[in-house]
Each structure stands twice: as structure tokens, then as C-alpha cells.
Amino acid sequence: MKSNLLILLFLYSFSVFAQDPTENDYYRIAKIAIPEGIILEAGGMATMSNGNVVVSSRRGDVYIVESPYSSKPYFRKFATGLHEILGLAIKDDIIYCAQRGELTRLMDKNNDGKADKYETVYSWPISGHYHEYSYGPKIGPDGSFYVTANVAFGNSDWWAGKSLVPWRGWTMKISADGKMEPFAAGMRSPCGIGMINGDFFYGDNQGDWQGSGFISHVEKGDFLGHPASLAWADNPNSPVKMRKEEIFSLVDPRDNPRVKPEYVEKEALPQTTIFDMSKAIPGKGIKPPAVWLPHGVLGVSTSEIIADETKGGFGPFSGQLFVGDQGMSKIARVFLEKVNGQYQGAAFDFRSGFRSGVLRMSWGNDHSLFVGGTNRGWGSIGNEAFGLERLIFTGKMPFEMKSVKAMPDGFEIEFTLPVNKKLAADVNNYDVSSFTYKYHPVYGSPMVNIGENPVRGAIVSEDGLKVRIVVDALRAGYIHAVVPEGVLSQNESLPLLHKTAYYTLNAIPSGSKANITLVTPKSKAERERIDAGKQVNSPDNQMKEAAPKGTPKPSASSSSVISDKEAMALLTKHTCVACHKEKERAVGPSFVDIAKRKYTVAEMEALIVMPKPENWPDYTPMAPMGHVPRADIRKLAAWINTRK
């Protein structure tokens, strides 16, 4: 992930008055006041037909929020005593929720506003391990309920996901009359769930065997990646054809319970990705992710998947998906298309700055989006323990890549506003690179096999809304980061609000090539520009924290320490700001706290490349950052040490 995260541009002189736009200009976050004493820890959310919002807490309560659009919402406790609910759905005006151990139907038979019947739709096996959360339900077109199940972990091998009882790590499909069919396997931490036009989608979290978070379409018999759940694949009811032995013939499981598998650059067996596996072992239901959400950039712990059903009421992304993230307190956007009959598409940043982890989302009846969450146990950038908010479209059109479609020889980008045609036609204003993630038993994966993809041509449509770019060296199965770095809008010369599209190119469509003479772009070094004089275009609240409030006192070796602005550019480029703030604790420790440890530059470099979670036991483990150029790491290490 090299050049695609350059975020600074030269602006033409006449726009020097305007600050670059921020997400807040287009989508406002409104806090919903939660009554004192309610520990909301939102884990489930749904909207009733009358516009009231139902929210469930991880503490087992279900609240109906009346007048959630007003300044005085009223919380009524509808049900209580449920076991760590992590999802709600409403069907025929009846509330359903997934507890740790069962799918429950809540009914108020005597109409006193409180549930009095807690009916067990289906009770599934559970071993009692702390990590065995169950998520859902999402309701399918046939009225059945989809529930996903977290794996457990080992004892001495606490890092290794395990499926101790059926159907942990699976999706269960439960009929309205309580019959369960095991539907798909290979899940690890399937907190992300969504029913999109009758198709069930799920999202997993980075972890062992999962290099990064992602979303996938789940079909019957699919294997989504994590081997633990295959313990039950032989069960007579299982539609899953994949077996563990086939995985382990291609990937060393390194399942010694005493030795935690750490990242190895070169292994004995050839490096593989889940995409490679799906090609190497066809017909067994291996389903590579439809859209990867690059770790640390678009999220660290994927949660709710919801489609924009507002037909324009929520802005220009009608029909696209929004995906929540617990750890980064943000929402990403996903554009989906089908190529060769399978879903794939592009993921973009959408909105950051939520006050807690984002877990669940639900549409209000006024096209606003209710967002609820919690961060207990896993930390989040938003530092409140729980939150309930409303995301509201201001009506102003942001300048964004509306969609990115795969082409036989590149991509077609559709913008929300007409582009400056001259800039858009210049191939040097685009950066495209590609990378993938390893499929291995190690916790997460760095971006690997990173390569540059030269842009050889750019055709701008007559109305200025679409650009078709011709890109070399496309690789099927790889994530292509498309960054129209130098493209500005025609009016007001706005830069893109979010500059990067991450397209998961599982299949390259067939068809005719673009009708354009190809050119050779300038080299990357010539294109790379860091203007230390412009403010970084980053999400609001991260910027407020990151921007230093004055020049720190020069130290003896200040000449060798980079400026704050250059540091900020590098921190953003290499996604450090995803988890670190300067003075405040976020997903990771603050730079001030890191500086207190007085590491030498060499020590910090080693720890950035290969982090030691035991050094910071209260924090989420850091992903290895060996792909970052060492020179940049050393510059940042020296700069971090000057923080006070």
C-alpha cells in the first residue's frame, strides 16, 4: 500500500480560501440522548413500522425508543434478562433476537408494553466459552432466520479458533417453526450480517486465517475461510463439502498448541490466498470474499451490513451497502456488482467519528440512519462505552467516486459530480496498485505481493461523470487500490472526499477493450507530491486530535526529525492514524504514551514491524507493519519520540 494513500494535492490558487471539505459537511452525526442509568451497549437494532427504533443491549435488555427523531426520545424497557443479545429483527411487528444460546421471539400478549412471552424459536448447542457470541437474526425472503455463530478459542492455544460444539463458526438457517438447517461454514467472528435484496451477506473480523475483514455473499454449502467449523462438516445435515485436510495440504496449519504461529515471510509451502485456494480446489464451496475491507483502513472489526434503500433520500449511494466497524468507530461504503455471476466490488471510506464502536445500523423512517454500538472488551477509536446516534444526509452532494466497475482492461469510475475533464483525462492523476492477503493460521496478514499498476489511458464521458481508465497488470483475486489522486471536480475544484477505492477483482470481466491510444505514465517518484503546507484531508475528529497545537520545542537533534505536517502525512499514508492518536488513547496507545517508553529508533522500528502485544496488554493487538518502507518507519519513530 504505497502511493495510493497520498492524500495531499496542489490546489489552484483561487480556492485558497476554502478548507477542504470534510465528511461532516455532507453527513451529520446527531447524538441521541440515552437516559442516565441505561447501560446501552447496543448489540441489536431494528426499526418498527411506526418509525420507533428498537435497540437491544449486551446486558440483555430490549428498549423501544419512541420519538427517536426528537430531542426527547423516550426509552421503554420492553424485555430484559436475555443472554448478551447481538442482533434484532422485526417480522410481522414481532421482535426476534439472537441470544448467546438461542433465537428468541418476544411477545407482549397483554399489551402492557412489556414482553411477557419469551419464546424459544431454536436453541443451539453452545459450550460456554466467552467468545461464543451469536449474531442475528436477519430475515430471508422465505421468512427464515439467519444466525451466525462465533468460534471459541483453545486453552493453552488461546489464539486458535475452535469449534467446540456444532454449529460454531457456521451460519444457521432457522425456519419460522423452529427447524434449523446448517447453512454454511468457515466463519470466525461473523458479527457482520446483512440481508441484501434477499441475499444473505456476512462480514468477518481479522483474526487467525482471516487476513483482513471483508464481506461475502453466503450461499448454502459455502466455506468462508476459517477451518475450525469444518469439525462438523461430516454431520449428516451438513451441506458443506469442504474438508480441513484439503486446506492443510496447501497451508501448514501450525497447530502446535504450545507455539503461537507468528508471521513468516517465506514458508515451506507456496504462499496462498483464499482466492488461490478456491481455484485450486474447485467445487467444494470455497468462497473468497466479495469485497475486502483493508485492515486498519476501512475497519478492524466488521459489523452490520445494510443497504441504502432510501432511493436518494440518504444521498447518491442508493442501492449500495454500508458496513459498520466496531474498532474504528466508522462506516465504510461498498459498491457491489456481479461479474461472471459472483459478487465483487469496491469499498470506500464513508463516515468516521462515531462516539463508540459501530455495531448495528437501522434506517429511520425519514431516511436517516440510526447507528448504535459498544466498545466493551475490544476498545474503539470513539472512546465512549456505548452510543446511539443518527446519521443525517445534509442534502449537499459530496464529490466522491460513486462507483467503480471492473472493465476488461481496467476500471470505470462514476463520480457524483462532473469532473474537471482536463485533469481527469491525464493518466498521471491516477495511482493504481494492487495487493492481497495471505491465507494462513497467523492472526491477520500484512498486505503482500504489492505491485504498481500503471494507468495507460483515461476516457472521460461527455457529461464528465464517468471515466474509464485502462490499467496494466491487473491480477484476478487481488485488491486494486484506485486513487484518482489529481482529479478535481469541475465546479469549485473540489478534491475527492475519499480518495481511494479498494476494488476486489475476483474476476476480470470479458468484453472489448477501451478505444484509446495508450500512453506511458510518469514514474511514481515524479508523481509523488507531499505538500507540507496544506492541511491533511482526513475525517473530522481524527484530525482535531492529530493536529499538533503549536510547534514542539526543538531538541538537540531536531534537524533530523521531520516536521509535524510531514509526520501527519506519513501517518495517514501508512494508516497509523487508524489506530493511534497523538495524545489520546484509541485502538492503540497514544504517541505520547509510546514516547514515554523511551524506545530507541531501532527498537521502535522492530516493534512496528513485529509488534509485541504483551507490551500493551490493555490494547487490541497491532498488525505487523513490515510493508511500510523502513525509511518512513525510522522518520516516524524519531518523530514519535518527540511527543510530550
Binding site: 446486558r59 440483555g60 430484559t80 434478562g81 436475555l82 443472554h83 448478551e84 441470544q99 448467546r100 444460546g101 438461542e102 428468541t104 421471539r105 400478549k109 414482553a115 411477557d116 412471552k117 419469551y118 419464546e119 424459544t120 436453541s123 453452545i126 459450550s127 460456554g128 466459552h129 466467552y130 461464543e132 423452529g178 466493551r376 472488551g377 475490544w378 517508553r597 523511551k598 524506545y599 509485541k612 504483551e614 507490551n615 500493551w616
Partner: protein
């Protein structure tokens, strides 16, 4: 409670032993009383409601008091004790009253307080009040138990008392109060660190002393005792000679490297500590001292040290921690001789990023756990707030629930429903076995284990717990004693809550639809009613399983060594290997009470 003055006529030298179990083959543990209200028996039984009805099985092992007019005296232990841990079982008869005095001066009340919702200091487990001298009727202090943890008359109850005697200086002036360090009644902590300013009412003396006998009150009602276990802890604790320390700066892989180096700093400290210089990131400390052990015997050391470390006691290496990352609290048992014992710790810290810690404790056959480190040397890792759930209104709460027996977890119930009541009687229902697995008295639940940080999804009962059967409730004649669960024959349907917030469970078993509701009768006990549609004629309801089941009335049974009662009609007792089961056939209506 009148004041009774006793003068100690004898002083019997003590032999300091570790844990002493009193077999009660005879009354030699006690001083003769000159009366005959105190007797020995093999077992005793009392009625649930008839006052003072005690019947005895002849034999030994159980101490019984049957007072009568003119024949009632208290009972003193022959020995005297200072700091001590004592535990015993006791059984009250209905409306009875007794008391257990530490040093003959500080009373823990024993009373039939069954059914009392808000106990006072005069209730079972209370620390009795003090009487104002010379002022008729004036009382003060007195400490009510945290919860009413007592059981019904006729059941064996258990109490654990940790007591610290008052301390005096060389002139005999008191420098610290007597303390109830902890009192547990039937497993529930009812007192913790209660300072007693002076003797409670009915003491043998108003003068406090270093040692005194146990006194059991015998003039108030029939009561039985057994299983006395005493641990004399009045030894002075082990202490350290001055600690010689040598500190080496730098990053060391092992202690072999130290012998070639000269320490940067040396000196003498009072106690063990890691914090001796300004170099807190990478160092190796050698701490050499001598342990002064008062009495030979088995000692228990506890230590929590950051970094690599090596502990040598009495010339032997007793523990080596070779890995830097480890940071556990460890416990070791060691036999140590009396007198001076060499003691050395080497601590090597190379990980700059972690905090430092050195905690070291020792307890011995006759002294309590004592810290040998400075206050600043050890900071406890966990400072979690406790999160609890009360049942001031009836409530239903689901969590994982660990079922315990004898301090060990025998099962984690995963589909469990906990039901709490403002009557302070609560139960856990195992949906997979259609059974009440445990009942408890006191407060509802400690939910810290599930709501602090990630949690583990489980909660704990906050009171005196009675573990019932973890087995399935339904069985048939051939499987009465097998540990079966209901498996796929069971369809869980959930529960409905009535207008009083009481749940009725609903499930189907082999085609029979069952409604299952438990209510509280007279705020004193549970009554469970199952309504079974189309009951299976071969099916049995297994109401209880225990080591023994004794029928004590027309419909009343004592279960499992007199741990609780079941009241039910039409039941039979089945006998297995060292086990008995109380069963009734599954019929349209099965109803029984759990009384404890």
C-alpha cells in the same frame, strides 16, 4: 443474655499444630461442666417446626445440647486460643438459640432465623451486641450478617470463622482490636474485617486477653455440632533479617552473567522490593536475606514477580521463572525448619515496556499470610469494580452458570435461566435438563464475570448456595442413576411471565407438553408445579438425588445428609450405588417443595 463471669482456673499449655480436626469421640476437647445437658451422639435430628424437638442416634461424633430446667451450662474448650481459624457444622431446632464465643468473649450468634428477610445482629450469624456497663438495657455495636444465609431447623449448616485476637504491647495496653477477619455461613460471606471494640454481651470476662477458650452457649435451646476444625494461628509470623541487595544495570539474559559483573548499587533494605534505584527499565536485582521461621512445618509461599526470577530458600532452588513475559501469581508448599533459613531472590528485568512488580507472601502452620515486601513493591493488577444485579423486583436473567460442588466446578450450565425474588430466595433453571440445579439465599447475582471487559458470559450467585441435582429431571426406571440429559427428546419452548413477574417454563418431552412453574411459599421455601399434558406412563420425575434420603414425616424427606427437605406426596425412594433418588411418576400434575 445475662452476663456470666467466668474465672479461668487452669492454663493448659498448648501444642502448636497446624489444622486440628476434633473427632468428638469423647468430650476431652472441652472442660467438664458439672452438668449433663451436653451429650455425644452419632447423629441428631430436629423437626422443621416443633420447638426444641431433638432426637438422637446413639454413638459419638456429634455434640448435642439438650438443656432442661436446672441442667444447662455453657461449654468451654479445654485449650485457649488467640488468632485462630475455626469451622464447624451446627444444627438448630425450631426457635432455638445458641452462640459461639471466640476467646469466650466475642459471640457469633446461632439462632433459628429461617425466613427472616432482614437479619439483625441477633439473628443467625450476627456478631452480638455489646452491653453498656452499668446501664440497664443499653446495647451498642452488634453487626448484622450481610445476608440471611441460615437454613431451616433440622438441617446441617456450616460456619467458617477467621478470628484475630486483640494485640497488646509489653505493658499490657491494647494496641489493636479483636477482629472477625471473615465469617462465612453456608458458603456466603456474612462478615469481613469487623473490628470489635470489646467483649460482646455474655462474655466470660470484660477484660480482653491474648488468648481465651471457645465457649458454646448452652442455656437457651437444643442445638447440635460436629466436624470442629481448628487452626491455631497465634504464632508470630515469619520475618526477615535485613535484606542485602546488589543491583546490576543492563540487559542480562541470565544470572550467569552477574557473577562476572560488579553491582552498580549495593545496600540494605528492611523488606523485599524491586524498587531500589532510579533504573526501572533494565536491571538485575539480587536480594539476600534470612527468613526467621517460628515453628517447623509446612509453609506456603506466594509470589508474583515481573521478569525472569530465581528463588532460593534454605540452600535449595525452589522456583525458577526462565521467561520474561510470565507474570503469574504462584503458590508453593515448602517444609521449613524452625529458626534462621537463608533466602535469596534474583530478579532480572529486560523488557523495558512493562511495569515492575515484586510481591512475596508467606503463611505457616500457625501464622496467617504475611507480606514480606514493601507496600510500593507490589501493585495488584486487578482493580475491577463489582457489578451486581439485584432482585428487588422479581426478575429473570439468563447467563452461563457454573454449578459448584465442594469448591469445584462440576458443570457449566449454558442454557440457564436465573430467577430472583425480593424474598431473597433465588434459583437457576437448566433448560437442557428441565431442572432446578441450584437454589440460594441472599442477594441475586454477581454479574462482574460477564460484564467486566469482555467477560465470560457467566454470573455468580451472591449468597448461600445449595447445589441440587445437575441431572436431568425426567428419567425412567432403568436410568434413575445414570447421568443422562434429555437430549433430542426435549424441545425447549421458552417461558412466559405472569402479572407478578414469575416465569412459567414451557417445553415438550417425547410429545408431552409441559408447563413448569416455581413459586415462593410464605417467603420461606420453593414450590415447583409441573403440568404435563399426555404424560408418558413410563416416565419418572427425579426430584432429588443424594447420598441418603430419610423420610421424616408423611410427605417430608431429608436429602443428602440433611442438606435440605423435599415435601411431596406419592414419592418413592430408589436405591443405587451409594446413592438414593426420590422419584414420582410423571402425571398430569407433579408438585413438590424444596425447603432449606
Amino acid at each position: 443474655m445475662e452476663k456470666i463471669f467466668w474465672v479461668c482456673l487452669f492454663w493448659i499449655p498448648m501444642t502448636l499444630n497446624a489444622q486440628e480436626y476434633i473427632p468428638l469421640e469423647d468430650l476431652s476437647f472441652f472442660k467438664p461442666t458439672g452438668k449433663t445437658n451436653w451429650k455425644l451422639a452419632k447423629d441428631a435430628s430436629a423437626d422443621l417446626s416443633k420447638k426444641d424437638l431433638f432426637s438422637l442416634t446413639p454413638g459419638t461424633g456429634v455434640l448435642v445440647n439438650l438443656p432442661s430446667e436446672g441442667n444447662m451450662s455453657n461449654l468451654h474448650s479445654a485449650n485457649e486460643y488467640g488468632d485462630v481459624d475455626i469451622s464447624f457444622d451446627f444444627m438448630m431446632s425450631a426457635h432455638s438459640n445458641s452462640g459461639f464465643y471466640l476467646q469466650g468473649r466475642y459471640e457469633v450468634q446461632l439462632l433459628d432465623s429461617w425466613g427472616v428477610l432482614n437479619p439483625t445482629s441477633a439473628d443467625c450469624g450476627g456478631i452480638y451486641q455489646r452491653f453498656k456497663q452499668g446501664k440497664p438495657g443499653g446495647t451498642y455495636e452488634g453487626y448484622a450478617p450481610r445476608v440471611n444465609a441460615c437454613l431451616a431447623p433440622g438441617l446441617w449448616q456450616h460456619i467458617d470463622i477467621s478470628f484475630q485476637a486483640p494485640k497488646f504491647d509489653s505493658n499490657g495496653k491494647k494496641i489493636s482490636d479483636a477482629k472477625m477477619l471473615q465469617v462465612k455461613l453456608n458458603g456466603a460471606i456474612i462478615h469481613e474485617n469487623v473490628s470489635l471494640s470489646g467483649p460482646t454481651g455474655g462474655s466470660i470476662s470484660e477484660m480482653e486477653a491474648e488468648k481465651g477458650p471457645f465457649v458454646i452457649q448452652g442455656d437457651h435451646g437444643s442445638v447440635a455440632f460436629r466436624h470442629f476444625s481448628v487452626k491455631d494461628l497465634s504464632d508470630k509470623p515469619a520475618f526477615l533479617d535485613p535484606v542485602n541487595y546488589q543491583i546490576y544495570f543492563g540487559e542480562f539474559k541470565g544470572r550467569e552473567e552477574l557473577s562476572a559483573k560488579k553491582p552498580e548499587v549495593t545496600g540494605i533494605a528492611d523488606k523485599l522490593t524491586w524498587d531500589l534505584t532510579s533504573n526501572t527499565s533494565q536491571f538485575a536485582n539480587s536480594l539476600k536475606t534470612v527468613l526467621n521461621i517460628p515453628t517447623a512445618g509446612e509453609h506456603r509461599i506466594e509470589f508474583e514477580i515481573k521478569g525472569k526470577y530465581f528463588i532460593q530458600i534454605n540452600g535449595k532452588e525452589v522456583f525458577v521463572e526462565p521467561k520474561e513475559e510470565d507474570n503469574y501469581r504462584r503458590t508453593l508448599l515448602l517444609n521449613l525448619p524452625a529458626g534462621k533459613v537463608p533466602f535469596e531472590i534474583i530478579q532480572i528485568k529486560t523488557n523495558k515496556s512493562v511495569n515492575n512488580n515484586l510481591g512475596f507472601w508467606i503463611s505457616g502452620p500457625n501464622f496467617r499470610n504475611t507480606a514480606l515486601h514493601t507496600t510500593g513493591s507490589y501493585l495488584s493488577a486487578s482493580t475491577n469494580e463489582e457489578i451486581t444485579l439485584d432482585a428487588s423486583t422479581p426478575r429473570v436473567f439468563r447467563s452461563f452458570m457454573d454449578v459448584m460442588k465442594n469448591g469445584k466446578r462440576i458443570k457449566r450450565v449454558v442454557h440457564s435461566v436465573n430467577v430472583g425474588s425480593p424474598d431473597k430466595l433465588h434459583y437457576t433453571f437448566d433448560l437442557d435438563n428441565a431442572n432446578i440445579v441450584q437454589v440460594w439465599k441472599g442477594n441475586f447475582l454477581n454479574t462482574t464475570p460477564m460484564w467486566d471487559d469482555r467477560g465470560d458470559g457467566s454470573s455468580r450467585p451472591l449468597g448461600a448456595v445449595l447445589t441440587l441435582s445437575p441431572h436431568a429431571f425426567f428419567t425412567n426406571k432403568s436410568t434413575v442413576f445414570s447421568q443422562d440429559n434429555l437430549g433430542e427428546n426435549l424441545l425447549i419452548k421458552g417461558y412466559e411471565i405472569d402479572s407478578e413477574d414469575i416465569p412459567t417454563f414451557n417445553y415438550m418431552l417425547d410429545g408431552a407438553d409441559i408447563l413448569d412453574k416455581t413459586v415462593i411459599i410464605n417467603k420461606k421455601h420453593f414450590q415447583r408445579t409441573l403440568t404435563i399434558k399426555n404424560p408418558n406412563p413410563n416416565q419418572l420425575c427425579r426430584l432429588a438425588v443424594g447420598s441418603d434420603i430419610i423420610k421424616t414425616g408423611e410427605n417430608r424427606y431429608l436429602i443428602d445428609g440433611k442438606a435440605y427437605y423435599i415435601e411431596v406426596s406419592g414419592a418413592t425412594i430408589e436405591t443405587g450405588d451409594n446413592q438414593k433418588a426420590l422419584v414420582v411418576p410423571a402425571s398430569d400434575k407433579v408438585q413438590y417443595s424444596i425447603i432449606w
